[in-house]
């Protein structure tokens, strides 16, 4: 029985992940053709890599089908209830940075804080007869954040892509989305609320609490973490 590690299956996230492990003496390489989602691992005994969509890695970790996984910290928090009880954060990998923020039209000079957003939402609902719509794909993170900050009279509308365009297209009044430079937001005449940072996301190596750690997986993890120079997490 080997230790299964889920790594992103494409794009920069995959390349950066391979680089990060490579720099620490663990070579992960795609096996076979470009189209085949399997990988080879050299430099760590009993470790098997599985290429997965970054969006599916949280679910695979929660189910314990993989022992370790590399994915964005935003995805784990969004997709897993009580994420800290389901996975352990082993290391932040120093790439894949993105901020989940709340943004509103730049011409809303009266709105700069969550307090303003809440007051504007109340007036908007009275004027338009429906709650102020915030487009996002991060429903859990945004809802928890707005509840903790006492914002009311809003509704979340699902947007799986091109979220910055929803305001202009009249399907939302504000958005909550991932941004790295803020460039796309500005190009779409949106501005970030000064206290609207919901989560600062980073590619992170997680361990699954629900995985089967017997049958040699635990020693394999100890050896791998020693190679990577990462501390063993508590209670795994």
């Amino acid at each position: 029985m080997s230790l299964k590690i889920g790594v992103p299956s494409k794009g920069r996230l995959m390349e950066k992940t391979f680089e990060w492990f490579g720099a620490r003496g663990v070579e992960i390489r795609r096996a076979g053709s470009e189209r085949e989602y399997s990988a080879r691992v050299d430099g760590a005994d009993g470790v098997q890599a599985v290429l997965l969509s970054a969006g599916e890695i949280p679910r695979e970790l929660a189910a314990g089908r993989i022992h370790l996984g590399v994915t964005g910290s935003d995805l784990v928090r969004e997709k897993l209830a009580d994420w800290e009880d389901q996975v352990a954060e082993l290391a932040a990998l120093g790439f894949g940075f993105a901020d989940l923020v709340i943004a509103v039209p730049a011409f809303w000079i009266d709105v700069d804080t969550l307090d303003d957003l809440d007051a504007a939402a109340s007036a908007f609902r009275a004027a338009h007869g429906h709650r102020l719509r915030i487009a996002t794909k991060y429903h859990r993170l945004v809802r928890d954040f707005l509840r903790d900050n006492g914002v009311a009279d809003y509704q979340l509308v699902d947007s799986q892509g091109a979220t910055e365009g929803t305001v202009k297209n009249l399907t939302a009044e504000a958005i909550a989305d991932i941004t790295s430079s803020g460039e796309t937001l500005r190009a779409n005449h949106l501005k970030i609320l000064s206290d609207g940072l919901i989560h600062r996301s980073e590619a992170t190596l997680f361990a699954a609490r629900a995985a089967d750690w017997s049958n040699g997986a635990h020693p394999a993890l100890e050896a791998l973490l020693a190679t990577l120079r990462i501390d063993m997490p508590e209670r795994l």
């Binding site: 809303w108 000079i109 700069d112 007051a119 504007a120 004027a127 809802r143 009311a152 305001v167 000064s194």
Partner: protein
């Protein structure tokens, strides 16, 4: 377990019918829109949402109050007493043992006259059926909090902001701190007010970017004007902030709480009518055999529940067992009937019991 829960539910259901309530039923699949508009987006974290290809988003019944009120507003005779028995579904966003599906038995009174007597009727009935379990009862009155806010010497806009957040204690606290000057206003607000002093709002808005989306430039300008007015509003006096604080944190036995609130009403006369209602309710409870001398009153009780209670609130819980949900809870929700009644309203009070918990406690299993 399910058999014991069902048997207990049937016993309570029969008792409520014997008390004069008409048995009613409600759909399990409810249109999500009404519930979302009422409770806000937070209900999504507490209820199961599903979708129907024709009806759109539907919710698995999180409680009976909304469908029962809708049914009464559509074709109920007055006054009315209803009881119901059925499953409710609560999504659990945290790991743990809280039930996702359980039975509720409820009792609701819709009556225009003597609301305090209706409050007492519901509470006394619950106290009677739960008596063998020796539970701790807690009571409160959101109406007193609302009356206290109404009496504050400040702008109508600030009072409205506080009333809107009665059920969100943290945001309420932040507003009181800001209106009272204990916390400075955000820096960006000060900067905006300064700019508005020299430049018309319309010019600032036009310079900030194109007007995109449904919220129009005129709405932005209107709020900018409101912010200028708000900036000129005098601070809440320290004395009033203290009184508000005093009311919010009041916890005592009911008679002591009443005495204290009578004293407070000397300085804050706006609460006097609500305090009179509290006094009449205690009398009505006494007449129904409740020992009000040992009854707990917490002014902030019920502030963190789903936001529709606007008067008397109560709950029955097992002392020393914070891990268990309340065995029963309820309260008055006059405003909800106005929201759902499309222009009509009727004073209403009611509550629910969890028969599963009653059965477990009776058998010593909880």
């Amino acid at each position: 377990m399910r058999a014991a829960e069902r048997a207990e539910a049937e016993r309570l259901f029969a008792r409520f019918q014997a008390a004069g309530a008409l048995p009613v039923d409600a759909d399990i699949l409810l249109p999500a829109d009404t519930l979302l508009d009422l409770y806000g987006e937070d209900i999504r974290a507490r209820a199961y949402v599903t979708s129907d290809p024709l009806e759109g988003e539907m919710m698995l019944r999180p409680d009976f109050t909304v469908p029962v009120v809708q049914m009464h507003m559509a074709h109920g005779a007055e006054p009315a007493r209803y009881t119901y028995l059925g499953e409710v579904f609560r999504r659990q966003d945290h790991l743990g043992a809280r039930a996702r599906e359980y039975l509720q038995v409820g009792y609701e009174v819709f009556a225009r006259d003597t609301p305090e007597d209706a409050d007492a009727e519901v509470f006394a009935l619950f106290a009677e059926v739960l008596a063998p379990l020796r539970l701790r009862a807690a009571t409160g009155d959101i109406g007193i909090l609302m009356a206290a806010v109404h009496g504050l010497t400040t702008s109508e806009r600030r009072r409205a902001a506080l009333l809107r957040h009665i059920w969100r204690p943290r945001r309420f606290r932040a507003l009181v701190d800001r209106f009272g000057g204990r916390r400075p206003q955000p820096e960006s607000r000060a900067r905006l007010i300064e700019m508005l002093a020299g430049t018309p709002a319309d010019d600032l808005i036009a310079a900030a970017g194109p007007a995109i989306g449904l919220r129009e430039a005129a709405e932005v300008a209107a709020r900018a004007t409101a912010l200028i007015e708000d900036a000129a509003t005098p601070l809440l006096s320290a004395a009033e902030v203290d009184i508000l604080e005093d009311v919010l944190t009041l916890r005592d036995t009911a008679p002591h709480a009443l005495g204290h609130l009578r004293d407070v009403a000397v300085d804050l006369p706006s609460i006097a009518p609500a305090v009179d209602r509290f006094a009449r309710r205690l009398d009505a409870l006494s007449r129904r055999g409740i020992d009000v001398g040992s009854l707990d009153f917490e002014a902030s009780h019920g502030r963190t529940t789903l936001e529709y209670y606007d008067g008397f609130v109560f709950s029955f819980h097992v002392e020393g067992r914070a891990d268990l949900p309340p065995v029963a809870s309820g309260g008055r929700y006059d405003a909800l009937t106005r929201v759902l009644g499309q222009g009509r309203s009727i004073p209403a009070v009611g509550g629910v019991i969890r028969p599963g918990l009653v059965a477990a406690l009776t058998e010593g299993r909880a």
